[in-house]
């Protein structure tokens, strides 16, 4: 159901306040997409300008965060893509089926740690991740940012990017392969945050 124009101003204020809580996520996505903090600031500002002007089009009860990311994506495509020097897409032939884990096994790495994979995990740093993200084409980068950094579901990503859900899945799979390859090539000794490797997710 669309919001009515005569809804109380307090509700619009509450929506705008809630929208502001997502500014860090929108900004970091904009920085990665544009590759430039100045362009990212402009893109985020443009996103909020469009969002606040079209609050009446926001469907109550739907995902405000996903709606903001969709506006950001459209603004990027319309106004900022031409400035980005990042390749827009990567051909299928250009992405081999690379797994970091398989590389570990195949290379017979015998580091000092008792569990070689722990050493690899400890080498994933802010710097190496930013570098690996920077090596992705635009299509791969956006799907990784939405899924692995911002935690959107496949269906939400499909809606934000305007592509079929099957394309989201295949693109994400290939993007992660590419990302792992870049991480392997840029292994550095310092860990990200406390970087404790756990099996808590399973």
């Amino acid at each position: 159901m669309s919001r009515n124009l005569d809804e109380p101003a307090e509700e619009a204020t509450a929506l705008q306040d809630e929208a502001l809580t997502h500014i860090d996520a929108l900004y970091r996505t904009a920085v990665r997409m544009t590759g430039n903090p100045m362009d990212a600031e402009d893109l985020v500002q443009e996103t909020y300008l469009r969002a606040f002007r079209s609050l009446t089009q926001f469907r109550a009860g739907t995902n405000l965060r996903a709606w903001l990311f969709k506006i950001l994506t459209n603004a990027f495509i319309n106004d900022y893509r031409k400035r980005s020097r990042r390749p827009r897409s990567t051909s299928l032939d250009n992405v081999e089926d690379y797994y970091l884990y398989t590389h570990l096994i195949d290379s017979g790495i015998q580091p000092s740690a008792s569990r070689p994979e722990d050493e690899v995990l400890a080498s994933i740093t802010d710097e190496s991740v930013v570098q690996a993200l920077g090596a992705l084409s635009e299509d791969f980068l956006q799907v990784v940012l939405l899924a692995d950094v911002e935690g959107f579901a496949y269906r939400e990503i499909a809606d934000i990017m305007g592509i079929p859900i099957g394309t989201v899945m295949s693109r994400l799979h290939r993007a992660r392969r590419r990302l792992q390859r870049s991480l392997t090539e840029s292994r550095t000794p310092a860990a990200c945050g406390n970087g404790e490797a756990t099996g808590a997710q399973l």
Binding site: E41, Q45, Y48, F52, Y101, V149, Y154, C192, T198, Q201
Partner: protein
């Protein structure tokens, strides 16, 4: 019961919590019985978690937040 290749095909859908309950039971059943696959899934889960954590270490500059705050229409 799923074999190792079939389980690996479902690796990301499992980690992304995109499997149906039935599919989840199948994958979990294999992982419970197959330590090598379980080991592999834990490794992949940790890679995804670390990539996400590292990439989230960036906040909007305070002056941008203030400029956006002033854009509010009410």
């Amino acid at each position: 019961m799923l074999n190792c290749d079939e389980t690996m095909d479902r690796l990301y859908a499992y980690l992304d919590r995109e499997l149906t309950d039935e599919e989840l039971t199948e994958v979990q059943g294999h992982l419970d019985a197959c330590p090598p696959c379980q080991h592999r899934f834990i490794f992949e889960a940790n890679v995804l978690r670390l990539v996400g954590e590292c990439a989230r270490h960036l906040a909007a500059p305070p002056d941008l937040v203030e400029r956006v705050r002033r854009l509010r229409t009410c």
